[in-house]
Amino acid sequence: MRLGLTAAALVWTLACGTEAPDPPTAHRQVVAEALAELDALLAGEEGARPTPAAVEPEHVSGLVGMLAHSSGRERELPLEEVRLLGAGATPLLAAIATESGRAEVERAAACELLAAVGDEAALEQLLTLFERAPEGWLRANAAYALELAGSDWVVPRVIARLKYEKHPETIVWATSCLSSVGNHSGLEGLWGVRNTLAGADPALLALVDERLVALAAAAGADDPDEHFRLWATGDPSARLVAASPSPRLRRAAWERISHLSGEHFQLRGVDDARFVLARLGTWIVDPLCRALSDRDPYIRVHAAQCLERMGARAVSAGPALVTALADPGLATEAAAALGSVAYPAAEPALRELLGPGVDHELRVAAARSLGTLGLPASTAALEVLVDPAEPLDLRQAAATALVELGAGDRIATVLLALLAEEGADRALAEAGVEAWLASRSDGAAVSLLERWRALAPPPGIIPSSEQVLERQRGRVELLAEALGELVAN
């Protein structure tokens, strides 16, 4: 009887076909679980909050005036006193900070006093000023005060604001604030201020330079250049002063991961979350790797994108990303991220994805990623893909990757063909040729590169579509004329 049932089941299975196997990665509610865990931890740490004692407005106003108009050790008195007043002073200080009729020096003093109160509500007021105040100087003072408060949980919101901030001094103090709690992501913006704006403003230049040196010293770097380099590369030799994220910061980070969810329709929150998460430091790699297994496909995809944007700082995500290649909904982003995080051990797995039986989207992503990874072992497999029988965008991804691998000379005619081929990504083709020419030092290439670049629009000028076409035609002619000599060399 048992034999009959087994045979029947076998026959049924054969007749109906097989079900698709379960995805290799077990998806679960990773983000919800992490948030619940941290909420429980924080609830235990914080306990019940006492009701703030009532504070007289005149008293707070007096402290603001005292701090604003005193110097040296005298400034300690109002700061000490406001700490004693505690949470009751917070709404009054926030009101003074936003009072447009007040002197700037007093509004700035109110910010500093909020930092001295230093509890969650006071910092929330400072963050609101930092995020929303229309006056740049006030946002700068709020950032300065946030640094004084020294709490790391403000980091995600400070980074998010820096995404949009244009006021130079606010960028300076927000970067300081971040750096003081072990996050050095503001350095990019600070260098940007130095290189673009500060030249016209000696006082700003002096401030930026002083901050860059001070921040580097505080972080344990030899100089500002090293400071930035160590941050950008993930500090592999652990030179920078380590900072362990508080539970509140980890909670804030997981909340940002939850913003990646498909439940949030608006991309602006997703964009902000991607921006913030990619800049939180190497400690965020582990949460993002865990998010690769979340039940929400949007969270999985965007978590991989965040790792991709982290670049070498997320190299420790390599094994998790290789595992993610087996998740059909995530494989493309995982493949892209593996190149960006520079995980060499992924090369064979990525190379396998170039094969003809693989989904087209994934083949293109793998070809592109192998170029970013830059290992010579990929060259032969990529060369196969520039065959004219392959889909255009796959050929183009492979050609671009080969240039990155230093094999541009071997596909020079392909590069020329892509430059003129209907449907090709012309901008990508131009970038590929330019990168190839720039990789050579012979006279023919140097001369051509000079003429090639001369056709580019002046910096800051957006060309019309017609001008772009004209430039591309000109470049095709240039390359066609010089190709023979370039190949012979």
Binding site: V11, Y298, Q305, A365, L394, A424, A427, S465
Partner: protein, 329 residues
């Protein structure tokens, strides 16, 4: 003997199960649905649609020089989600779009809108004999279909709050009308929008009303099924005025007096004042007497000069004259 009977019984049972399975098993496709790697594959059979799309701004979404410059050649990868989206029917209607890796240079292409998950294409009719074997998909007409990208700037929400929503006038009626008004000719795939000045001009009406010694300018959204302009940050509408030009004299420079715009995310000091569908806004004019008033529409909100007093729309490649009034007391 008992063994033989049992064996025969099992065999009969197996055959019965086989027959049942053959009857009730899910039907198999005669051939797998086609998958596509480029919208150029659609051109041979659909030359008119392809040509319309080729001339559309959907086609330009990846390669338009403004987009290339503003996205820093897509180094700002946030832009990819909408400028090279995965097929909408794959991510789901009403869901946020996701970025794709392949054929990005084709922008918002045939595959973005018509590819079905797992292969095959969505169309207006079932045509199993056609090479691409389209499957009739009414969802293509739903405003939420467009919303994955266009509602990122609240355009579909604005439409839902308008009378057009109740009247059943949807995105396609204005932006993808039937060719020559004939349903048999199919829909226009140029998807005209904010770059088409005829459409923009049909959206608003500009009027001058004499009140006391001065003028009040009325601007009414008479034709857009969403706010005017729609889309955050990238669009703006500006009102200018100048004293009426005496014949033979050089016209006075335009003076800016009102702006309609939605702020970008970092612009904490700008109020969102887009002109909602059906709304009439009354704006006092600073000038008196005989005046000229001009409404300009901008594809990018930023003038070369930061000071609005110095803005000059004439000759600005991104400013388009929508309407102009000559008012005399």
């Amino acid at each position: 003997m008992r063994g033989l009977r049992a064996g025969l019984g099992a065999l009969v049972g197996l055959l019965g199960l086989w027959a049942l399975a053959a009857v009730f098993a899910p039907a198999r496709e005669a051939a797998p649905a086609r998958t596509f790697t480029s919208s150029r594959q659609c051109r041979e059979c659909h030359p008119q649609v392809y040509a319309e799309w080729e001339s559309s701004w959907h086609r330009e979404s990846w390669r338009d020089p403004d987009v290339v410059a503003l996205s820093n050649n897509f180094a700002n990868t946030d832009c990819i989600d909408c400028h090279a989206p995965r097929p909408v029917l794959e991510t789901g209607i009403g869901m946020r779009v996701l970025p794709r890796s392949s054929r990005r240079s084709e922008g918002v292409d045939c595959i973005s809108c018509h590819a079905l998950p797992g292969g095959g294409v969505a169309g207006t009719i079932d045509a199993p004999g056609a090479p691409c074997r389209p499957v009739a998909t009414l969802d293509l007409q739903r405003p939420d279909f467009c919303g994955g990208c266009h509602d990122q700037h609240q355009t579909v929400q604005q439409w839902k709050e308008s009378r057009y929503f109740d009247e059943g006038v949807s995105c396609m009626d204005c932006h993808m009308p039937f060719r020559e008004g004939d349903p048999n000719l199919g829909r226009d795939h140029r998807c005209l929008g904010g770059h088409d000045m005829d459409l923009v001009r049909s959206a608003v009406e500009l009027r001058g009303v004499r009140e006391g010694d001065g003028w009040v300018i009325e601007l009414e959204n008479v034709g857009a099924g969403h706010s005017f302009p729609t889309d955050e940050r990238s669009r703006a509408a500006d009102l200018f005025w100048r004293p009426a030009t005496v014949e033979g004299a050089t016209p006075a420079p335009w003076r800016h007096f009102y702006r309609i715009r939605s702020p970008y995310r970092h612009e904490v000091d700008i109020i969102d004042n887009l002109l909602a569908a059906h709304e009439t806004r009354r704006i006092p004019l600073p000038g008196q007497g005989a005046v000229e008033v001009a409404l300009y529409y901008r594809l990018t909100p930023y003038y070369a000069e930061a000071d609005p007093a110095l803005w000059n729309p004439v000759g600005d490649a991104n400013a388009f004259l929508v309407d102009r009034l000559e008012l005399s007391p």
